[in-house]
């Protein structure tokens, strides 16, 4: 399983006249699903996710449009198959594009499962079981992760994961999403946006690792918009009541706080409880590459080198690194430039921006509020924040107090912006530019002296205000109503 970023680094290596080979193989899901070249992001991650999120946003836009004068029949329906076919067609074109790109750079491509058998040697097994051996001077592991299953009766037989969702050949219907990761919340979000009955079962907190203040706001918004949450329960059994596409499933769940047991019936159960690195069955022991036995992740130095000098690794399988496509791409590209192009630049993992595409989108760069307090001390940070009401939401009377921006500054360092958080439409677009500014050492003063663009959501980030007592909702008079 090779990630998209690997293709980038192979293209990069091939630029330097190195003979390069890619071994890409997707082990089918428990339900038999597989996909083409491009890795998780392209096939079963970012790309289809964002397209389906867009489908849901368009549904909302249709509702809003009536207030802007568009007239059409009351009931507007969504066709899952039409959307899925379009999404899969686009992915198919990307898969082919990568094949062509590899060929153009004269990279040898094998759709085969690679595993180390001895130093400098891999065995490649294709889907027909034919084995070939290859030797190389250097190796790059970018095998990524796959969804974790619960380990309860019925999980692999009846539940689906994100590996299955984006090409599901039938509408999932009433869905239970298990998990509180961004994958869980994003999927629950767009499924509900398409008109499905969605419940999210959460073991403890939402979006572990993210700013919890923002995570809770995201959850609240989803709940207010019809997504049900079952908190502090975990499934213990999934049974099939009726076969079908979709069928009917019975889920039994137990409280994490006591002995209470509940049952529910759903058409589809989507597991999004985490992902596990694909490092355990690729022969790493045969070549001495150390992995974290508990997590399966590979520790690397700041040059993405494993403990074995000629073996490198990038992407989601790295220990203590961010699991993001652009991070892997950048790391891969820079690695090859260092190995063959004489460059010395290392990948900068600090202040990497990211966006969660929940119904209310969340863009972030830098420290969460709790991490900033922990690292710098509460007395040394200043948090500026503001709610805002996007102009586009005013006419259709959408929530006027849900969108929110928060800037965290380090008082001891010239009020340097160390954390940027925005909850609102197009959060990713808003965050990208600020990430570049933060990389340049943006301070609160510079932010204040930047003139806003009006009327856009992002201008609130320029003019957010001091924290006020929790009971008072503060709205700058320029924001209100606009």
């Amino acid at each position: 399983i090779i990630h998209y970023c690997l293709i980038k680094s192979h293209k990069e290596a091939a630029k330097y006249e190195k003979k390069v080979m890619v071994l890409d193989f997707v082990t089918p899901t428990p339900l038999g699903n597989s996909w083409g070249l491009g890795g998780t992001c392209v096939n079963v991650g970012c790309i289809p996710k964002k397209l389906m999120h867009q489908a849901a946003l368009l549904g909302q836009a249709l509702q809003d449009s009536r207030k802007f004068g568009w007239q059409f029949p009351e009931e507007v329906k969504h066709n899952w198959m039409t959307m899925t076919e379009s999404v899969q067609n686009y992915i198919g074109s990307l898969n082919w594009g990568y094949r062509v790109a590899l060929r153009e750079k004269k990279v040898t491509y094998e759709n085969a499962y690679g595993e180390f058998v001895q130093p400098h040697t891999v065995k490649a097994t294709n889907k027909r079981g034919v084995e070939k051996l290859y030797t190389a001077e250097r190796f790059l592991i970018a095998t990524g992760e796959r969804p974790r299953y619960l380990g309860i009766p019925g999980d692999k037989e009846y539940c689906i994961s994100s590996d299955d969702l984006f090409s599901l050949p039938y509408c999932p219907g009433k869905t239970l999403v298990v998990g509180a990761s961004y994958v869980a919340l994003e999927c629950a979000g767009f499924l509900a946006g398409l008109g499905l009955d969605v419940t999210v079962m959460v073991r403890s907190i939402l979006l572990r690792g993210f700013d919890q203040d923002m995570a809770n706001k995201i959850g609240e918004y989803m709940e207010e918009h019809g997504i049900k949450f079952i908190r502090e329960f975990v499934p213990i059994k999934v049974e099939q009541i009726e076969e079908g596409t979709p069928g009917r499933l019975k889920v039994t769940a137990k409280s994490t706080k006591g002995n209470e047991v509940i049952e529910g019936e759903y058409n589809t159960v989507l597991l999004a409880i985490g992902r596990d690195a694909c490092t355990r069955k690729i022969g790493l022991d045969k070549v001495g590459v150390k992995i974290n036995e508990k997590t399966g992740k590979i520790p690397v130095n700041d040059m993405e080198q494993t403990n074995v000098p000629y073996i490198y690794a990038i992407g989601d399988i790295l220990q203590d690194r961010l699991e993001l496509t652009p991070v892997a791409i950048q790391a891969g590209r820079l690695l090859v430039q260092r190995l063959y192009g004489g460059a010395t630049t290392k990948c900068d993992y600090v202040n990497v921006p990211t966006t969660v595409f929940t119904p209310l989108e969340y863009g972030a760069c830098g420290y969460s509020e709790e991490n900033a307090i922990q690292k710098f001390g509460e007395e040394n940070i200043e948090v500026y924040h503001s709610h805002f009401w996007p102009l586009e939401w005013t006419v259709p009377s959408r929530d006027n107090n849900k969108c929110y921006a928060k800037i965290i500054c380090n008082i001891r360092d010239n009020e340097r912006v160390i954390g940027f958080h925005v909850l609102g439409p197009n959060a990713g677009e808003v965050t990208q530019g600020f990430a570049a500014a933060i990389k340049c050492g943006l301070t609160k003063e510079q932010l204040d002296s930047t003139i806003g663009i009006h009327p856009v959501c992002a201008e609130v980030c320029i003019r957010s205000h001091l924290p006020i007592p929790a009971s008072v909702a503060f709205w700058d008079k320029h924001n209100l109503g606009r």
Partner: protein, 133 residues
Amino acid sequence: MAQRLALRRLLAGPGRALGTSAGRPSAFNVQDGGDFQERVVNSAKPVVVDFHAQWCGPCKILGPRLEKMVAKQEGKVVMAKVDIDDHTDLAIEYEVSAVPTVLAMKNGDVVDKFVGIKDEDQLEAFLKKLIGA
């Protein structure tokens, strides 16, 4: 890819019927490398090869249009269809990058080619050139 294929079959409907009003099929789906060798490379008649993909919108327009124009040539030219995902090796061998790509082949050689959609008149000219030359 099992699920993706299941999805496509559901959407494509029954079969991939290829036929002409004259009753004699002028287009066929290439089954494998050997089939291509036998029915395209070693073909006595000139062949147009339509490289297409399931995920390609324009291919769905060009395919039937080309078939119709081939049928009009009354058996003087044959049409072979190659799905580039099913026969990636072939597509790579003939340097297909974008789809649809149509090759005109005579006696095993590529004598003409175009990429993208063409209208009926353009297709007719393309075919006549292949037959005539």
